[in-house]
Symmetry: C2
């Protein structure tokens, strides 16, 4: 089954023959996005540690690392395990690992990875990690995760953070590397000034923690955070020394709107699409495609039609397996077999629905990449 | 990676040690649901051809067939291929197959399956299927799919349907088996009387087509349709002779509400849960779990907490990887490592996020079943 569409690799016009729904990345565009972010980071003197939760794909991680990324971030232990298995050697796990079995898996991964760093936001967990690392015989790299104010993860950026760092820095089996703070709340703020103020207010608190630690002789080597929405705002604050940007490689409807609603051109181009096929069209001005709730994550609205649709058409979810295309019935009629593509509402959870990415250049399917960490949420 | 949690099978208390997020089915409950639907069908003299788009799992299909189901329905060709590969011998493909490559795959599946039936809603596609079946050397079983009024798939239940059936019945390489009509729009109508009226109005049109065909000597052997929402409404109309029920095995928040909002007890019990773990809890009255947009399909709202949460707690989506649990801070505090479970908003697309189902009985993990057709949307 995994060989579906493999016969089309390299065939002229192969893109138009994909069995669908298919997740498609336009290589020319993605390569421009990767190069642009790399150039930006170099110009700003900031490092990149892109977040692999967006793509979950070792081939894309390799391409990011090839142009200078330090390694990649992972949101889940299973994601890190899958990417390590596929050869990615430097991994920052941005979420806490808290269960006994999870900590055992973390130690097994630490024994294999060239570099594994994990975010910690709780002193009791730090104690348990230190004990496990000591028992494992290999020290564990840790960052203190600071709460940016939304309290999803992170310890309060005050005395509590200082105490956590002091504890970890003292532990003989932990290597305290620095701080993490991801201001998730700022990334999708649609006014640039507001977005900037939100992010910089958070970074100010991170700087305070950094300075208080430095006064105690604890110098953070790594200060990691940021995202696609603030990639060109955060470097100016000179607090973060690496960016955890993820969505810039693909861009989705939601991230495009961050710029578009503010009247700006999005900083990166859309490279990710779902390609779908009309399977039924028995009523005027309406066609049904083969992509519904199981082919798009729905948390950020509906897909935006990108190609193949009549003028004035729009997509609506038509159940688990199907999408509806409604269009002025005076326009060219869609018929079964017609191909359409759409920008996805939200890239990360949409990518997580697919086993493979179809990498296309123009009309040619150049490769099919496994999404090694798909579904590895545990 | 696929061995995650396999060490817990049969271990007392193993359910509470699952690495999460984990999709969990309570076997006692699912078995009662399967038995209840089977008893209902026998009492009503109607057959069952349950829809596998809900579970995508060969083991569950086998259990449905073991208590009398004729086979299973599949929504997609890839789903049918995966279940056939796993040993399911009788498959009804309920959506049209329209592309050249899709028709070739359909013929390959037809060559292998004991019984494959496919729904057709377009005379041009019927012509192409007939040609492909003739070239393949094996006849293809077909149903005419009738539009229940929502025009997602199906041909209008009038002269157009009659003409389509006549065409297919005449074809030497097709075997016309009957009609399909799925009134999707009626399944979630929350007032029983309205639901009943909607479904019976559709079935009346199906009966008219059936009778018009019979007058021409074309007797439908199969008339397939219905769903969990109308399972106890449709048999009274004596039009359908088989039900394509799906969600009854699991039940989800959305289907429970079909009955609950009407003041009735749901006809089946909830057997499906997502189990999750608290990973961070640094603010009073708030905890963060490891299950977000990548662990629940979000098209039908938020999960309903089922176990492990303090009194008065509720779940909110806290991004791609995390869920928030908000609760009165006067109640017992959640700490990292605490386990919670939730009913899912919508079972079908949530199941499609997971590679395996953890089958539990009480506190014991009895088995881990692969979801063979997960992601097989093409």
């Amino acid at each position: 089954m995994s060989a579906l569409n493999a016969n089309l690799i390299g065939v002229p016009g192969g893109r138009a023959k994909l069995q669908t729904p298919a997740l498609v990345v336009d290589l020319d565009v993605m390569e421009r996005n990767i190069a642009a972010m790399s150039a930006h980071a170099k110009a700003q003197g900031i490092s990149l540690r892109p977040h692999a939760k967006t793509h979950k794909c070792a081939e894309i991680a390799r391409r990011q690392i090839a142009v200078g990324a330090l390694g990649v971030c992972c949101a889940k232990l299973g994601e890190a395990e899958a990417l390590a298995e596929a050869g990615i050697e430097s991994l920052l796990l941005t979420s806490p690992v808290v269960t006994e079995a999870g900590i055992a898996r973390l130690m097994a991964l630490n024994a294999k990875a060239r570099e594994l760093i994990v975010a910690v936001d709780n002193p009791d967990i730090a104690t348990r990690l230190a004990a496990a690392a000591e028992a494992s015989g290999r020290k564990l790299n840790v960052l203190a995760d600071l709460d940016p104010g939304m309290s999803r993860t992170g310890i309060a950026p005050d005395d509590r953070a200082i105490a956590l760092v002091e504890k970890m820095a003292k532990s003989p089996s932990l290597i305290w590397r620095g701080l993490q703070c991801y201001a998730g709340q700022a990334q999708h703020t649609e006014n640039r000034k507001d977005r900037s103020e939100q992010s910089l207010a958070v970074l100010k608190k991170v700087a305070d923690v950094r300075d208080a630690l430095a006064a105690k002789g604890l110098n953070a080597e790594i200060i990691s955070g940021g995202g696609t929405g603030t990639f060109d705002i955060d470097p100016d604050a000179h607090v973060l020394n690496e960016l955890q940007v993820g969505s810039y490689i693909f861009m989705d409807k939601q991230y495009n709107e961050v710029w578009e609603k503010d009247g700006e051109r999005p900083a990166f181009e859309t490279s990710l699409f779902v390609q779908m096929t009309v399977i039924s069209a028995n009523r005027e001005g309406l066609a049904t495609t083969d992509a519904g709730f199981k082919s798009f994550a729905t948390d950020a609205g509906t897909p935006a039609l990108a190609s193949g649709a009549p003028e004035g058409a729009s997509y609506f979810y038509f159940g688990d397996e199907q999408g509806g295309i409604v269009y002025p019935s005076t326009n060219a009629k869609l018929v079964p077999g017609d191909l359409l593509s759409a920008r996805v509402p939200h890239c990360d959870p949409t990518v997580n629905l697919y086993d493979v990415i179809h990498a296309v250049r123009g009309d040619v399917l150049e490769a099919i990449w496994p999404i090694e960490a798909r579904g590895k949420s545990a």
